[in-house]
């Protein structure tokens, strides 16, 4: 397997992967979307809410706020040693919101939350939660837990995770009459007219739409878009809960766990026979 990092920053990662297959990439994608755990608020105790927004609406907004996740400290509630419905320090973090608009209208942002664990805070302090008119008040306690995307989207650690086959764009300069139509139509500006030649700028950006092939009047086509079924462009964008590298390595751990679990169970059942 060959791999190259095309782009990487704090919250996103783009890889070019060669020598694998779609089934494997899809398993990773599905695990990232629905099984890699992250922290989110799933219980809100509202002590006072005199804002114009109803309690359940407010709770919903708080639930969708991505939280920085410390996977090494927290346990999934179902795996926690406390076995309690309410949770303990190892499977629950509490955040407090206590705001009041005194004499003018204010917007309450996620940054107003005070967390009992300074590592479990909203990924951004600039998420608007609620607007308060003068003398309105919100006081509440929110409990964050680890969870999985398969239970609710608020526990998805990514805002996007997708893959595509690696595009291969070819221009046959012998056939090309330099009409420029393909350069014009390409939505990703993969093709570039340079002098008396059509050049390929960045074939990895191609979406495989094949519009360039459709518009080319030549027979056979002077431009051709094909893809390599064993190479992929894999991109993922974290919500900020976990680093993109951690998300990918957690997904690999989960897949490994499934395979190991299966082999063990299968060996057990086989011996029963």
């Amino acid at each position: 397997m060959k791999m190259e990092i095309l782009e990487r920053d704090e919250n996103s990662l783009r890889l070019r992967i060669g020598g694998t297959n779609a089934a494997f990439m899809n398993a990773l994608r599905r695990i990232i979307l629905s099984e890699v755990p992250s922290m989110a608020v799933d219980d809100v105790v509202i002590i006072e809410n005199s804002s114009t927004i109803q309690d359940e609406f407010l709770a919903h907004r708080i639930g969708l706020m991505p939280l920085k996740t410390d996977l090494d400290t927290y346990n999934l509630p179902e795996n926690c040693i406390c076995k309690s419905e309410f949770g303990c320090n190892l499977c629950r973090a509490s955040l407090i919101l206590d705001v009041e608009a005194e004499d003018h209208t204010i917007t309450v942002y996620s940054g107003e939350f005070k967390s009992e664990n300074p590592a479990t805070i909203p990924v951004s302090g600039k998420i608007p939660i609620v607007k308060l008119a003068p003398e309105q008040k919100v006081r509440l306690e929110a409990y964050a837990r680890l969870g999985k995307g398969e239970d609710h989207a608020r526990w998805q650690p990514v805002s996007m995770c997708a893959y595509k086959f690696r595009p291969i764009v070819k221009v046959d300069s012998k056939h090309c009459d330099l009409c420029g139509a393909c350069v014009e139509i390409c939505p990703k500006n993969v093709l570039l007219k340079a002098g008396n030649k059509v050049e390929i700028k960045n074939s990895d950006n191609c979406t495989l739409c094949q519009d360039c092939m459709d518009i080319c009047k030549k027979t056979p086509k002077a431009v051709e878009v094909v893809w390599d079924e064993n190479s992929f462009i894999f991109s993922l964008e974290s919500t900020g809960a976990l680093s993109p590298e951690r998300i990918l390595s957690e997904a690999l751990n989960i897949l490994d766990g499934k395979l190991k679990d299966f082999l063990e169970q299968f060996a057990g059942k086989e011996n029963e026979k």
Binding site: M1, K2, M3, E4, I5, R8, L15, I17, T20, N21, A22, A23, F24, N26, A27, L28, R30, I31, S34, E35, E245, L248, S249, L252, L255, D256, K258, L259, K260, D261, F262, L263, Q265, F266, K269, E270, K273
Partner: protein, 100 residues
Amino acid sequence: MNVKILNRKENELKIEIENEGHTFCNVVQKALLKDKKVDLAGYSIPHPLTANPVIYLRTKNKSKPETVLRKAVAKVQKDTKSFRAAFDNALKVYKDQATL
């Protein structure tokens, strides 16, 4: 995950996996299909609300289906291992380039 053997014949195997889905079954099915000893391999999810897919496997030339299935799963395990190695290497190369 809980594995149940539904049917076992000389060159046929049908198993049910509780609490799984396409994630696990699809990789295993594709790995099985690459094996020349496999005559037929497939899976189905009988009901979308119960996550209990059934994997069916038929082998050629009296090969033991259990061995073939175990080999296919081991193949996917090898894939995760090489993916991890390739990713660690790619990260290292990327970091080296960034510091240059």
